[in-house]
Amino acid sequence: MHLHTRLTRWLAALVGSVFLSFSLMLPSAQAAMIGTHALVQQEQLEQQRHELKQFLARDGIRDQLIAWGVNPDDARTRVDSLSAQEVAQMSERMQELPAGGDVLGAVVFIFLVLLVTDILGFTDIFPFVRSVRD
């Protein structure tokens, strides 16, 4: 048992040092290249920002924002200042938007609009939402 543990530790140390030396040996160029994965994520972020802005520009939403005294242009600008994580979070909510126009859909719809405006810091209804303006 003891031997087994010691062997495991020794192996772990060996593997660790091999990894470390490999990472030190990586060519310097690779360290600063923009990888394709990062590129794709960046594109997706821009796409999501775009969709959020389109959502805020939709007739029903625009009217509601104005009814609450929120300038729709301010809302759009604020989307630009959202972090990648916040954009992803909001974008996830958008996916849940009801597609049909039934009663259940309307309730969910309002819930989501309020959630979005909460995140943007225009309303403060849900205690679990941390506004980007906090």
Binding site: P27, S28, A29, G101, T123, D124
Partner: protein
């Protein structure tokens, strides 16, 4: 805290009245689609589904149409989850990719669906045949459209040519979140593709361990959108990973000539040129990247500093200016 709660409730109730019509607006099915010719993709094979196995059957039809022969039974074994009596979208997508197909999620609009059909591409769709709170999920393949009768043709369940009024279909599709994909041989481009999502779809091939198929898709994308820098960067990264630094640099330099360069492209080009020992050009490219700025500007400055540090005969001609953002 009763006061804010009460006002919140009031606000929600008020909005309920307001939003009643707003929610119906954007997705209401419309027949005002562009008039277009009737289409039926008769080449799409038909596998009648066994009980609950519409996912594997639909995917097998898509894959066979695109030229990979797989039986629906083979897919069923991999895809079907008995406890759920069905398959999940990500698993369908992953399986299509394992069969070396580019999977492109179409925009959830009737227009996109019809455009793909018109281009000869069948579309695998997810429908909810019942109601949102009592769902009956179903996968089918859309293979045709008859504008005169306002009907779509589907390979669906045990029906080879399932006719469904467009408006009915759009309702069931909307309840499936308008999810639909085309699966194409790498090198072919979906009719409704946009460069950003296309790049993501091609990269997914690379991430699934199919670098050559991804490269084929990148090349086709560059032909389609010569002005898009990302596709060129992706192809160059592919070459670089394969140890083909010269090819990688050439891809990016062609991008510069085609006017399709951005900060990321110049950044990577600078490092490749430095690896090739072309210091003057490397420095110039790094300077260009810094000039572009943007969200990666920090990285561009590091690149410039790196190139200058490695530059043999006494560093760069133009010193890096500190604080230059």
């Amino acid at each position: 805290m009763p006061a804010p709660r009460a006002s919140a409730l009031g606000l929600m109730l008020g909005l309920l009245v307001l939003a009643g019509c707003a929610a119906t607006g954007p997705s209401a099915p419309s027949h005002e689609l562009l008039p277009r010719a009737a289409v039926e993709l008769v080449d799409v094979p038909f596998y009648p589904q066994e009980r609950y196995q519409c996912g594997p059957a639909a995917l097998a039809m898509m894959l066979d149409w695109s030229g990979t022969s797989v039986g629906s039974q083979a897919l069923t074994d991999k895809l079907y989850i008995p406890a759920r009596q069905g398959s999940l979208q990500p698993e369908l997508v992953a399986q299509a990719r394992q069969h070396q197909r580019l999977v492109y999620p179409i925009r959830g609009e009737p227009q996109a669906l019809l455009d793909e059909l018109a281009a000869g591409h069948p579309v695998l769709v997810l429908q909810n045949l019942a109601l949102p709170w009592w769902p009956r999920w179903h996968y089918a393949v859309v293979i045709g459209y008859e504008p005169k009768r306002g009907e779509l043709l589907l390979r669906s369940g045990t029906t080879k040519r399932h006719r469904i009024p467009l408006s009915t279909f759009l309702h069931t599709w909307a309840r499936g979140n308008n999810w639909g994909i085309v699966t194409l041989r790498p090198g072919h481009i979906p009719a409704t593709a946009e460069p950003g999502p296309y790049l993501a779809a091609a990269f997914d091939l690379e991430a699934a361990g199919l670098p050559e198929q991804a490269a084929t898709a990148y090349r086709a994308g560059i032909n389609q959108w010569p002005g898009h820098p990302g596709l060129r960067v992706a192809l160059a990264n592919h070459y670089y990973t394969a140890g083909r630094t010269l090819d990688a640099a050439e891809v990016l330099q062609q991008g510069v000539s085609a006017g399709a360069a951005d900060g990321d492209l110049y950044n990577n080009l600078a490092l490749l040129l430095a690896d090739l020992g072309r210091w003057d050009q490397a420095e110039a490219a790094a300077q260009q990247a810094v000039r572009f700025g943007g969200p990666n500007s920090r990285q561009y400055q590091d690149t410039l500093a790196e190139v200058c540090r490695r530059y043999p005969e006494g560093g760069c001609a133009a010193e890096t200016q500190p604080g230059w953002n």
